[in-house]
C-alpha cells in the first residue's frame, strides 16, 4: 500500500477473548479429529515401548552408562511426534480451512484469517507438549528414562526441532491445493526426512552422501541434537544451525507464497 494507512484503534481488532475462543475452537477441531489426535501421539509412543521392551533399557558403557533408551529412543520418539504433528497434522487443517472457505469466512469479520493459523500452531504446540509428557511419563515409570544430562541443551534442541518441523508444515499448508494433497505431501515429506534422518534403521546403512545429507535434514539434526543433550553433551552447533536454517527458509517461503483462497 502506498497511500497513508490509518491505524485502527485497538478495540476494532478482536481482543484476548477472541484469541481464547479461537484457540478453544482449534483445540476442539484437533480433539474431534480422532485419527489426527491419536496417531501422532500413539504411534511414536508405541514404537518407544517396543524398543524399550526389546532391550533398549540396558546401559551402554561406551556412552558412559547411558541406556539406548535415553540416548536414542527418546530423542527419536520426540522427533517423530513433532514431525507428525507439524508436517502432517497441522497443514491438513490449514489446507482444508482454505479449500472449504473457512479462511474466506473469517476474512470478512474483524478477525484476520492469519489468527486461525496462529491458533492452530498454538494448539499443535499443546498437542506436542501433551505427547512429550506422555512419552516421558511412560518412559520414566517403566523404561528407565531419566532427565536429560544437559537440560538446557536439550530444551534448546527441542525448541528448534519444533520450529523447523512446524515451519515445514506451514510451507506445505501454503502450497498444498487441498487438504488431501496436504496429507499426501506431508506424509512424503515426513517419510523422506525420517528415512534420510535415520528413523528407518539407522543412517549408517545409507550410502555416504545420503548419510551426510540425512544428518542435516530436520529429522536427522533433531535426533542428533536431542541425543547429545540427553547424554549430557552440548548439541553440535551444526545440527542446531541446520534446524534454524530450515525454520527461517521454510517459514519465509511459506509467508511469501501462502494462498489465502
Amino acid at each position: 500500500m502506498t497511500s497513508t494507512t490509518s491505524v485502527p484503534i485497538a478495540s476494532d481488532r478482536p481482543g484476548l477473548a477472541a484469541w481464547g475462543q479461537l484457540i478453544l475452537h482449534e483445540l476442539r477441531m484437533v480433539v474431534r479429529d480422532t485419527g489426527g489426535l491419536v496417531i501422532p501421539l500413539g504411534l511414536p509412543t508405541l514404537l518407544m515401548v517396543m524398543s524399550g521392551l526389546a532391550g533398549g533399557t540396558e546401559r551402554i558403557p561406551e556412552l558412559g552408562g547411558v541406556s539406548a533408551m535415553n540416548a536414542f529412543v527418546i530423542p527419536s520418539t520426540l522427533t517423530m511426534m513433532v514431525a507428525l504433528i507439524g508436517i502432517v497434522n497441522m497443514p491438513s487443517f490449514l489446507a482444508s480451512y482454505r479449500t472449504t472457505g473457512v479462511l474466506r469466512r473469517l476474512a470478512v469479520t474483524p478477525a484476520a484469517p492469519s489468527m486461525v493459523l496462529v491458533a492452530q500452531v498454538v494448539v499443535s504446540l499443546i498437542q506436542t507438549i501433551v505427547g512429550t509428557a506422555l512419552a516421558l511419563v511412560i518412559g520414566a515409570s517403566a523404561l528407565g528414562v531419566v532427565a536429560p544430562g544437559n537440560l538446557a541443551g536439550t530444551a534448546l534442541a527441542m525448541v528448534l526441532t519444533v520450529a523447523a518441523m512446524y515451519a515445514l508444515g506451514m510451507l506445505i499448508a501454503a502450497v498444498a491445493p487441498t487438504a488431501n494433497s496436504s496429507v499426501a505431501i506431508g506424509l512424503v515429506t515426513f517419510f523422506a526426512t525420517m528415512a534420510l534422518g535415520g528413523g528407518l534403521g539407522g543412517r549408517d546403512n545409507l550410502p555416504g552422501v545420503l548419510a551426510t545429507i540425512g544428518e542435516y535434514v530436520p529429522y536427522g539434526s533433531a535426533v542428533e541434537a536431542l541425543s547429545a543433550g540427553w547424554q549430557g553433551n552440548a548439541p553440535n552447533l551444526a545440527h542446531l544451525a541446520a534446524l534454524a536454517i530450515c525454520t527461517v527458509l521454510a517459514s519465509g517461503i511459506a509467508a511469501k507464497v501462502f494462498r489465502w483462497e
Binding site: D12, P14, L22, H25, M29, D33, T100, V108, T109, P110
Partner: protein, 324 residues
C-alpha cells in the same frame, strides 16, 4: 447521507474486466438488490464493499469509511455472508456463533440469535450434519452476530429448496425491520422482486439499470408477447402492419407476436379476420425477467431457450377455440 456509496468502481483480474465503472448508493434501511448473471461482476462488487478486494480505481465508502484501508473498522459495522465461505465440519452451531461473537465489540446474544433463526434446537449439532438451508441460516447468523448496521448477503438462497427459500426470505424481511441496511446479491428474479426496494441490474461489469422492481417492469411494458399456434397460413405482413405490433417471429409451429396495448385482443381479431383457426394462444405476463431481457438483451436464465424461462404462459393460457 447514503450508508454505502460507490463511484466509478473498476476491478480487473488480468485481462478480464470484472467491474467496469459501477456507481450506486444505498440509503439507510434499504434493501438494494444486485441482479445479474454469473460473471456479471456482482460478487467482485460486494467483495470491494467488504474490503476483501482493493478496487483498481473508483471510490467506495461504507459509513463514510474506505473498506480497504479501514477494513477492520468497517467490518465492525458490516456483516457479510459471501459465497464459498464455510465452517469446519466438526464445529457445533452454538460454538461457531459464540466464536464469531467474540470478534466484535458489541453483538447479539448467541442464544437469542439462534432462536430467531430457528436454529436453537440445532445448537449442539455439527456443521456437517446441518441441511443446506440450516447451514445457510447459520451463515446468516454469523453475518449478523456483530449486530451490523449493514449486511451483505450473496446468493443466499442458492441450492435451497423452495420451502427453505421462502423461510429465508421471511428472515430477510425480519432483519430489515430491525433497521439493517441490506445489499442482496442474487440471480433469482423472484427473490429480487419480492425483497428489494431497488435493484441494480449488472451486466458485463456495468450497471444497465437501477430502479425499483416496479420501475424496471414498467420499462419492459412494450415487450409483451403473444404466442399462437394456428391451422392455416398467417398473413404475417398484415399482422406486422397493425399499430400495436412491434415484432413478429416464427418459432417452430408458433407465431410469436410482440407489441403493446391489448395485444391478445388485437392479434386474435386480426387472425379471425384472416380466417385462420387458432388452436392455442398464450399471453406472457411482463415480469422482471422481461425487464432483464430488455435491459441486457439476454435472459437471466442461461438454460438453452432461456428466452422463455420456466413456463410463463401457463397462467394466461387462453382457450381461443372455445371463444370462437
Amino acid at each position: 447521507m447514503p450508508v454505502i456509496s460507490v463511484e466509478n468502481l473498476r476491478k480487473r483480474y488480468g485481462e478480464h474486466v470484472a467491474v467496469d465503472g459501477v456507481s450506486f448508493a444505498v440509503e439507510k434501511g434499504e434493501i438494494l438488490g444486485i441482479l445479474g448473471r454469473n460473471g456479471a461482476g456482482k460478487t467482485t462488487t460486494v467483495e470491494c464493499l467488504a474490503g476483501l478486494r482493493r478496487p483498481d480505481s473508483g471510490q467506495v465508502r461504507v459509513m463514510g469509511l474506505d473498506p480497504w484501508r479501514d477494513r477492520v473498522k468497517v467490518r465492525q459495522v458490516l456483516g457479510s455472508q459471501l459465497q464459498e465461505g464455510a465452517l469446519p465440519g466438526k464445529v457445533r452451531v452454538g460454538e461457531a456463533v459464540k466464536l464469531y461473537r467474540s470478534f466484535y465489540r458489541t453483538g447479539a446474544d448467541p442464544d437469542r440469535l439462534l432462536a430467531d433463526l430457528g436454529l436453537h434446537d440445532k445448537r449442539r449439532a455439527f456443521y456437517d450434519d446441518l441441511s443446506g438451508g440450516q447451514q445457510q441460516r447459520l451463515s446468516i447468523a454469523l453475518a449478523l452476530v456483530g449486530r451490523p448496521r449493514i449486511a451483505i448477503l450473496d446468493e443466499l438462497t442458492t441450492g435451497l429448496d423452495p420451502a427453505a427459500r421462502r423461510e429465508t426470505w421471511q428472515l430477510i424481511d425480519r432483519i430489515r425491520r430491525g433497521g439493517v441496511t441490506i445489499v442482496l446479491v442474487t440471480h433469482v428474479m423472484e427473490e429480487a422482486e419480492r425483497l428489494c426496494d431497488r435493484i441494480a441490474v449488472l451486466d458485463r461489469g456495468q450497471i444497465v439499470a437501477l430502479d425499483t422492481p416496479e420501475g424496471l417492469i414498467a420499462r419492459a411494458q412494450g415487450e409483451q408477447e403473444v404466442r399462437v399456434r394456428t391451422q392455416g397460413a398467417v398473413d404475417q405482413a398484415a399482422l406486422n402492419g397493425l399499430p400495436e405490433v412491434t415484432g413478429l417471429r416464427i418459432d417452430g409451429e408458433h407465431v410469436v407476436i410482440r407489441g403493446r396495448g391489448n395485444l391478445l385482443h388485437t392479434v386474435t381479431r386480426a387472425l379471425l379476420s384472416q380466417d385462420v383457426v387458432v388452436t392455442d394462444a398464450r399471453v406472457r405476463q411482463v415480469t422482471l425477467d422481461d425487464a432483464f431481457l430488455t435491459l441486457t438483451g439476454r435472459s437471466l436464465d442461461e438454460a438453452p431457450g432461456g428466452h422463455f424461462p420456466g413456463d410463463p404462459y401457463e397462467d394466461s393460457r387462453t382457450d381461443l377455440e372455445a371463444s370462437r
